[in-house]
Amino acid sequence: MNPLSVVVRTVCDLFAWFMIVFGVNVLLHGYVTPGGGFQGGAIIATFIAFLLVAYGGRRVASRVNDRLFDLFEEVGLLVFFILAFLGLPVTFFFNFLAKPLAESAGGFIPGVGTVALMSVAVGLEVTGALSLIILTMHRGIRMFRGEDLEPETGHDR
């Protein structure tokens, strides 16, 4: 794609950072306001899409580190799984931190218990996974341009 105008690129750049703030907000308050893990994660993942528009593919590919998103995704998944597993003395997925409405004032973990924690975990996972999907597919374009890839020979001798 031809380089876009300066205005569009600047707006995209600004929006990209705004999206992160908005996404984190949606993610953290999912149990009170509309939102939650998926929505927040998806909103944060549009960050990469905006960056691609604002800076162009080559710069994004060279600057953005995949490892970070890999880490997000892995940590999110494992935390989610472990939170689900911790309820196991009762049942898998038992919400062992929840309190009824009457007792749930204050405290570090809100009264919804694992719902809030799992929401954050899923948010991390969705952020990482969706960003990685976009980055990987974008790298796929380059794969077809340069023919410097050796085809895998598999296992035939």
Partner: protein
Amino acid sequence: MVKKTVFVVAAILLGAFVIGAVDGAHPFGDPGAAPMDDYFLANALNDISAENIVTAIVFDYRGFDTIGEAAVLFTALTAVATLLREGRRKP
């Protein structure tokens, strides 16, 4: 061409049946008695103090769907990364 016509006719027929099945569920805007959903609406706030009932359902009542869904996303990412992997470079 005959084949394509047959397929399109069958697709239109199937679409008509989908409309039939969709209409047969319940009239729009009037689901009637909904004991399962009314249980969520009545108890989510008091039991686990969740203001947003949809989130409560997603992460607690039907939490297993959510881990399945996270697994779907993870599967798709893994499959995409497998298909578009860098592979070996030419020496």
